[in-house]
Symmetry: C3
Subunit: 109 residues, 3 copies
């Protein structure tokens, strides 16, 4: 059993969820926010057997899009970081950031 932690853009979360259900992946959703842009995003916890990992990664690739964002100079983020970066700043937000962690024991109670 593996635990997949996938951080995705809010706007992709609904279609990703439907396609995971159709492929019979069981998931739990957590509301989260990005550390840099301070915008809301979605963190999925997905416990799955190792043999389904490739299929899962493919569903993430098909449902999670890159997005270009611009951080304006007069924003809270720019104010805290203005001595480290120059604003306005172009940022490319990926479709999904995915961590696969080994699960030693799994229980359904």
């Amino acid at each position: 059993m593996k635990m997949v932690v996938a951080i995705v853009n809010d706007s992709d979360a609904a279609s990703l969820q439907s396609n995971l259900n159709k492929a019979r992946f069981q998931t739990t959703k957590l509301s989260s926010s990005g550390g840099f842009l301070r915008e809301g995003n979605t963190t999925f916890l997905i416990g799955t057997e190792a043999k389904y990992l490739d299929e899962l990664i493919e569903i993430l690739q098909d449902n999670c899009q890159h997005r270009d964002k611009t951080v304006p100079s007069m924003s809270p983020v720019a104010n805290t970081l203005e001595d480290h970066y120059s604003f306005p700043m172009h940022v490319e937000v990926g479709g999904a950031t995915v961590f696969v962690v080994d699960v030693e024991e799994f229980y359904k109670i």
Copy 2:
């Protein structure tokens, strides 16, 4: 040190929390939602030494109940999945889904 991730029904969370406190387990609670039924549930993060895992699993078994749910045909879930399942659909929600993950390093700062 192990990290236990336990996803439980909201209605069991309060009594589970009290019994974990009494047994001196330290926990952190996250609000979450189920991927299939889209209903709120609770995700506990519980860092504990391996020798207390059996006791922890027992407390989960004593405090987390199975529940039967019916997903009606005219619901948002049914609308997105109607070509994959037939509705109304009987669903048995378990008491707890539990993942045990190894912790390589642990710090109290």
Copy 3:
């Protein structure tokens, strides 16, 4: 790649976030609550290469403070635990509780 799960006091989260950004750590933030005091706190998920762990721990040490709290006798926590502890009760809340977990696979989609 390692996944660092750091649970910190809400009042330290903002300055911690800025200093993690400046040091170019990528993070995701989850709202959480403590199991014992039932107060809000912040759980950071930080994926980082093992060689940056020492630097990350130092940033946590510099930004997360201990706090003394008193749990009064007439509080919800005291009511559920009064046969296990005596109230009012002095509690020392640490700056951060940190778990480091190994990541088997990492994808940027």
